[in-house]
Symmetry: C2
Subunit: 138 residues, 2 copies
DNA sequence: ATCTTACAATGGACATTGTCTAAGTCAAGC
DNA sequence: GCTTGACTTAGACAATGTCCATTGTAAGAT
């Protein structure tokens, strides 16, 4: 985390209170916050921070490869600090809870040439959906 | 297609000009239109059709399982008449072209129990991304 | 063929998520 | 401590979608 701030400073980032607090909010495992959630948490510490700055900072962190954009539902994008180990997502259909998962195997090898339509495929995204133990009741 | 209209009538659908034209617009393979695209095409035949009716009709067709909602990008949802053979999608990162694909294998078996976090998984969605032959130049 | 009525269509207001801009502010180097 | 260009801010704007009150009509009943 302070690793992150160091890396960013090294890349010529001007270090502002706003950027620091956004970077601090985005820390941990299985963290997938929306921009508005990031804004709310950042505003607890820095009440005057604006939505525009949160969007700008998130966009910059994505460009730098420090966080990922995740779109598991059709609502708001979510921002994922787990950018360094590739993974996919498991989403609860009821409450929206999201977990990082690491399937074995490579879905690319499951797609025969005849099903590639001449595309140069560079990325595969897998989303598992189901009901989490919490929502399943007992 | 007239199969579809028959099925819908059988389900008690009141058959209106609007519903008929929406159903007719959604026909074919590799068809993944946005609601506004459906509206534009429907309006060629029925100029007074409203956006609300297109949204309502699409929603009903989805509920009835006659079409699928597909979210390959963060823009508008797309509506897919190919609801009867399960499939995944291959998307061009440049132009957005979408093809239906049928990978072999089952991605569920690639997810060990230890990575399921107690979820009851009911669905897996795979999106392949790349550059289509058209966008790749020669 | 006409009547009746519940269901459907319409236009427009509203909501959510995100982008953009003009003006003010400040981090960091001198 | 200045200076300056990068950063932040508030709010307007855009894209997509939902909701509601009103008007219209498909289809069964007479
Ligand atoms: Mn993740
Ligand atoms: Mn499809
Ligand atoms: Zn849940
Ligand atoms: Zn393309």
């Amino acid at each position: 985390m302070s690793d992150l701030l160091e890396r960013l400073r090294g890349r010529g980032w001007r270090m502002t209170a706003q950027r620091r607090v956004v970077a601090e909010v985005l820390d941990g495992d299985h963290v997938h916050l929306t921009a508005d959630e990031v804004h709310a948490r950042a505003a607890e510490r820095l009440p005057e921070i604006s939505r525009a700055t949160v969007y700008n900072t998130l966009g910059e962190l994505v460009s730098l490869g420090e966080i990922l954009e995740v779109s598991t539902d059709r609502r708001a994008k979510r921002y994922d600090p787990n950018a360094h180990r590739p993974h996919h997502h498991l989403v609860c259909a009821r409450c929206g809870a999201i977990r990082d998962v690491h399937p074995t195997g490579n879905p690319l090898s499951d797609l025969p040439d005849s099903e590639r339509f001449g595309f140069a495929i560079s990325d595969v995204e897998v989303t598992y959906r189901g009901v989490c133990p919490n929502c399943a009741g007992a």
